[in-house]
């Protein structure tokens, strides 16, 4: 469904962030993108959604194909109407608008009629009953979990074919993270929305994903089905915190790390 072919992204005309980055997200799947800080995960998502432009970034080489149409360097609004919706890192809800207004804004680009929009919003409230109780409250006063639900709700309003999720678990309590990932799975399974997931919480991401990529220094260094990645010694060591001799204790801070084989 979505194919990224060897893209190169440059910020400010000089800073090369992605070099020869390629991934593919199959229709109806959950694709996971892992990597350390600064590897270029968020940049990859922004390259897809067109938000790079607002950060002085540009795709200088390669191509992004969505349903066989090129999305390279398009405006964000064109990409949203093509059916890709990004849920940005840190939720980015509109704090001064009410919960319901946040949902309405998300339907703006689709130009729904009043009645259809209302039905769509009701559907979101069915998904997230919490939000319904708080519909008239300024979204800035919602809890972190509720804000994340709202961010996902906004994505669902425009009925995208694909959602890009950038670190949805950021700053949430472990129990909420579990709930959140159940919701993500449900969206994927029931609403048939393809998902590209960027996560720091590798364990839970690999548990719901179908296929995964590991990024380092602006390109993919390892890929495979999520089940396979979970068994990989390097992934275990560096992303899941499990080494050959079992779970690692943080007491021994000064451990000798195994060399990454993929380097």
């Amino acid at each position: 469904m979505l194919k990224i072919k060897n893209i190169e992204v440059v910020y400010d005309d000089v800073i090369l962030v992605l070099r020869g980055m390629s991934i593919e997200a199959k229709k109806g799947s959950i694709t996971v993108l892992l990597g350390s800080n600064g590897a270029g995960k968020s940049t990859t998502l922004k390259a897809i959604s067109g938000l790079l432009k607002s950060e002085e970034g540009k795709i200088t080489d390669g191509d992004i194909l969505f349903e066989n149409r090129s999305l390279k360097n398009r405006n964000p609004e064109e990409i949203v109407s093509a059916g890709i919706f990004q849920v940005m890192e840190g939720r980015r809800i509109f704090g001064t608008l009410t919960t319901e207004e946040n949902l309405k804004v998300a339907g703006y680009c689709r130009k729904y009629g009043k009645k259809i929009l209302k039905n769509k919003i009701e559907k979101i409230y069915e998904y997230f009953p919490h939000l319904k109780e708080r519909r008239e409250i300024r979204a800035g006063y919602l809890s972190g979990g509720e804000q994340q639900m709202l961010a996902i709700g906004r994505a669902l309003i425009s009925e995208p074919k694909m959602i890009l999720l950038d670190e949805p678990s950021l700053g949430l309590a472990p129990l909420l993270v579990k709930e959140l990932f159940e919701i993500i799975e449900r969206i994927n399974r029931i609403d048939k929305i393809t998902i590209l997931l960027v996560e720091q919480n590798a364990d839970i991401a690999l548990s719901i994903g179908n296929y995964g990529y590991i990024m380092e220094n602006g390109k993919v260094v390892l890929e495979g089905s999520c089940a396979k990645l979970r068994e990989n010694e390097d992934v275990k060591e560096f992303y899941l915190g499990i080494s050959a001799e079992g779970k690692k204790s943080f007491k021994n801070v000064k451990h000798y790390r195994r060399r990454k084989r993929w380097l």
Binding site: P76, V80, E101, Y108
Partner: protein
């Protein structure tokens, strides 16, 4: 006592026009974070467009009023496309400087076409004031007040209920997130400028209707500044309350203090009050407190 009430009433009328102009500032600032120093000149342009339509083209006042509104919106759009669109992404300070340049250009154009002497609209209201109990109000003042209040209600409803209004607030809140929702922010910027030029134009026509017009109308932009800052740069109710407060203060200080010192207090009083209020409330009376989650 009657004198006091009379001053208050004329202050409210003047203030409601200030509030209209302040609304223009707020609209542009909210959506684009640009402080538009040409707002006063947009008002002047509106007043002269209406003048050209009524006096020079002999169009009846009411039709002229609406045509002028449309032309003002068009002017706003042209300014946005020609001058501001190429500057998207540049530092805010450069854009603000450009608006100062724009104000000078607009003023020069108006002077070139219509000269500098004061012009008047044909009288549409009788000069006979309406007596409201002990005080009397001129019909054109009353018209201004009603027009301003109607506009505020329309804008309130627009921002609260229309999808474009909500989208404009979303853009003001977080531009990048708004883009990620598929909102075309360039379109929103253009709409903000159109609406701001439109309200400025209406303000200009209302003032022209009461006092006649000349090129110094542009000074209203500066005079409204205290009103905008007072209310908080990004608050529409703030613009209204700020505008009316400044209008009333100006009227009162003009009525009571000017005779004592021989005039001029009227011009300074709003700025003096502004200083005091900013010392106490730096974000203005109604500026948004940032809601932050830690």
């Amino acid at each position: 006592m009657n004198y006091f009430i009379q001053l208050i009433v004329s202050g409210i009328v003047l203030g409601s026009i200030y509030a209209l102009i302040a609304l223009g500032f707020v609209l542009i600032y909210k959506a684009t974070r640009v402080l538009n120093f040409a707002q006063g000149e947009l008002l002047m342009a509106g007043a002269y467009i209406a003048f050209a339509l009524t006096v020079q083209l002999h169009i009846p006042f009411w039709s002229a009023f609406f045509i002028a509104m449309l032309l003002c919106a068009l002017l706003g759009l042209i300014i946005e496309i020609l001058i501001l669109k190429p500057l998207i992404g540049e530092p805010i300070i450069s854009i603000v400087m450009i608006t100062i340049g724009l104000s000078i250009v607009l003023k020069a154009i108006v002077e070139m076409i219509w000269g500098t002497e004061t012009r008047v609209y044909p009288a549409i209201f009788s000069t006979q004031p309406i007596a409201l109990g002990a005080i009397s109000v001129s019909k054109s003042s009353l018209f201004s007040l009603v027009a301003a209040i109607t506009l505020f209600i329309i804008f309130h409803l627009f921002f609260k209920f229309s999808s474009t209004g909500i989208a404009m607030r979303a853009v003001a809140d977080d531009q990048q997130a708004a883009q990620s929702m598929g909102i075309n922010i360039k379109k929103i910027f253009a709409i903000s400028w159109m609406v701001a030029a439109l309200v400025a134009g209406i303000g200009g026509i209302l003032i022209g209707n009461m006092n006649g017009i000349n090129v110094s109308l542009g000074m209203f932009g500066l005079k409204v500044f205290p009103a905008v800052i007072l209310g908080g740069l990004d608050s529409i109710p703030g613009a209204i309350i700020g505008g009316i407060t400044i209008g009333v203060l100006e009227s009162l200080s003009g009525g009571y203090l000017d005779p004592l010192v021989g005039g001029g207090v009227k011009m300074v009083a709003p700025f003096a009050i502004l200083l005091v209020i900013l010392l106490i409330k730096p974000y203005g009376l109604f500026g948004t407190e940032e809601i932050e989650k830690v």
